[in-house]
Subunit: 350 residues, 2 copies
């Protein structure tokens, strides 16, 4: 089984045809034509190295987030920043709130650190006091917010309470906000507002800005020592010039942003309501652009195979820590695709 969703290439190689990809959580919008034009106009820049300091890109990201350029570190996808963070922090024990994205565990282990897990409570809610009691010797807490694969979002108040507690003992909080732009009024809810030295924010342009192919992620931090450590460890020129070009422009494309915001607001509710109508499954109400579903009796891998026969690739979520063989995850896409996915699910399950 794949560690990640989205292996549409293997599926295509094996089946010889395209499928509808519900396994990776990307906004279902084309990049605006304005962006395409920027790439074509700047094609000759491929023949240059990127700016090793990424000044313009980091300035744009700082402006987008209301922080300073020195608080921004960019990477070849959020993954590079995650791995650099884990390699750079002075800590031996890391606590991951799970079920969640599998790469945190890989990054912790590959950096030679010890990993343990804290399980979300009933309904995938987070009891922050119970988490605090469980920290023990752990020096860093990792939380994905909104969380992949559960779709739940934890309030700023909860995370501030957690960061406060951690700060008193010189410990750190790592918040992956790769999906935060799908949350309504996210600018009032991001942990970046706290501007705290012990909070590191991870972001990706992969999801909301629908450019996983082009690879661009970044981190926001107020810990200058840690940022220096990351800088010393990073490989030069890791962000390619197209990512740099697209990235610094698309985050200010109001039309694109409004379009995605309007879509998710409506579509996540519609999709959830439609899923509720299907017998044999319990959809977990989501605040973001994907949804976790518990199958009452059927196995995820069977449903995945049956859906694939109908041309829809879904994520078998049973390899997420603390989930069982009865969990699947679906992206939320455009209405037409969603109708097709719902129809297929009905046929397969009912």
């Amino acid at each position: 089984m794949d560690l990640h969703g989205g292996n549409i290439y293997r599926v295509k190689r094996e089946r010889g045809e395209e499928v509808l990809d519900y396994s990776s959580n990307i906004a279902p919008f084309k990049l605006p034509n304005s962006i395409k034009e920027i790439v074509v106009e700047n094609f000759d820049k491929l023949e240059r190295y990127p700016d090793i300091d990424y000044i313009e890109l980091r300035e744009a990201i700082a402006k987008y987030n209301g922080c300073d350029i020195e608080n921004v570190v960019v990477g070849n996808g959020a993954t590079e920043i995650l791995f650099l963070y884990m390699k750079s922090i002075k800590a031996n024990k890391v606590l991951i709130v799970a079920p969640t994205f599998a790469e945190y565990e890989r990054a912790v282990k590959l950096s030679g650190k010890e990993v343990s897990f804290f399980k979300y409570q009933e309904g995938y809610e987070l009891d922050i006091e119970r988490l605090i009691e469980s920290i023990g010797e752990n020096e860093v807490v990792v939380i994905c917010n909104p969380n992949n694969p559960t779709g739940k979002f934890q309030s700023l108040e909860k995370l501030e309470r957690l960061a406060d507690f951690l700060e008193r003992t010189g410990k750190k909080l790592f918040v992956d906000e790769a999906f935060i732009e799908f949350i309504n009024d996210w600018r009032d809810k991001t942990s970046a507002l706290l501007k705290r030295e012990n909070i590191f924010i991870l972001r990706a342009l992969t999801k909301f800005y629908a450019m996983p192919g082009i690879r661009l992620g970044y981190g926001i931090s107020y810990d200058m020592e840690l940022l220096k450590e990351i800088k010393d460890k990073r490989e030069p020129w890791s962000v390619n010039i197209i990512a740099e070009l697209i990235g610094k422009n698309i985050i200010f494309d109001k039309e694109y942003i409004e379009c995605v915001e309007n879509w998710i607001e409506i579509e996540k509710r519609w999709f959830y309501k439609e899923l509720l109508k299907i017998d044999g499954m319990i959809p977990i109400e989501t605040e973001t652009n994907f949804i976790l579903i518990e199958l009452k009796e059927r196995k995820a891998k069977d449903i995945q195979s049956l859906m694939l026969e109908k041309g829809v690739l879904i994520r078998d979520a049973s390899n997420f820590k603390f989930l069982t063989e009865n969990y699947i995850r679906l992206a939320i896409k455009d209405r037409e695709s969603n109708e097709r996915a719902i129809k297929s699910l009905k046929e397969v399950l009912m």
Copy 2:
């Protein structure tokens, strides 16, 4: 001083104008229009993740090199592969043949290994028997071939002799062939021909294929255990989709390849001959697309400043191990630019 050449961005920020970049060693050709068209046609693929296994790209690279797909590992520039190699090998001591590219030392140190250096002989030639005698407890030898910054190329016979010796004691050879395509008849001279388990070949599309902005490098290895180790350690989707698209096409673009081969054959001789005519410097005869120059009296940093005033950015090579403050490195570019660089050098030195 910068660890690398090519910081045209900082120069532009500081001077407010473009310069002629002789500090990074990129072929001075535009990417073919056919490649531009491929990118435009495939623009929508940016909205997908790259193939996590990079099957098509690795197949193309295997074909280009006459090896099998399982011998090829791709990376976000050659740098990613270099760092992964150093992290993945079971060795504690690494010997680097120097003066050479600074990232080898960084990669060795960041992987927690010990580094030592073996100095090229007179005229930057390599006495392979002396190198063999110096290996001692070192378990890996790193050699850049052709070597940056000296422009010298070591024969396949020498490297085979070295690999033979290393093999007898279970040791490894790492050959960076980032610039090998600039060598006349390189296909008969690459260490990849040896297909040996203890030789790892590093390649880049950055230089010959003039796409440093887009980031693509790869490794060729016959050590299946090491390749598995690298695979286990690598970050997913590190090669972006544009690099994948361009990469798998440009390496078969005969017209582009012939054009670059014809240019370097003529231009490296012309450039060297013209440099010989300038008093106050000793150019080191090169076999590739850049040239190291010893200044008889003047300091590299002074000449670099004076050249910059004339709008030409050159590489102050004095921070290369074993070089002094009297060394500069120049890329070789198109004739018109080369004439301008030669003219500026004359004015500055004579």
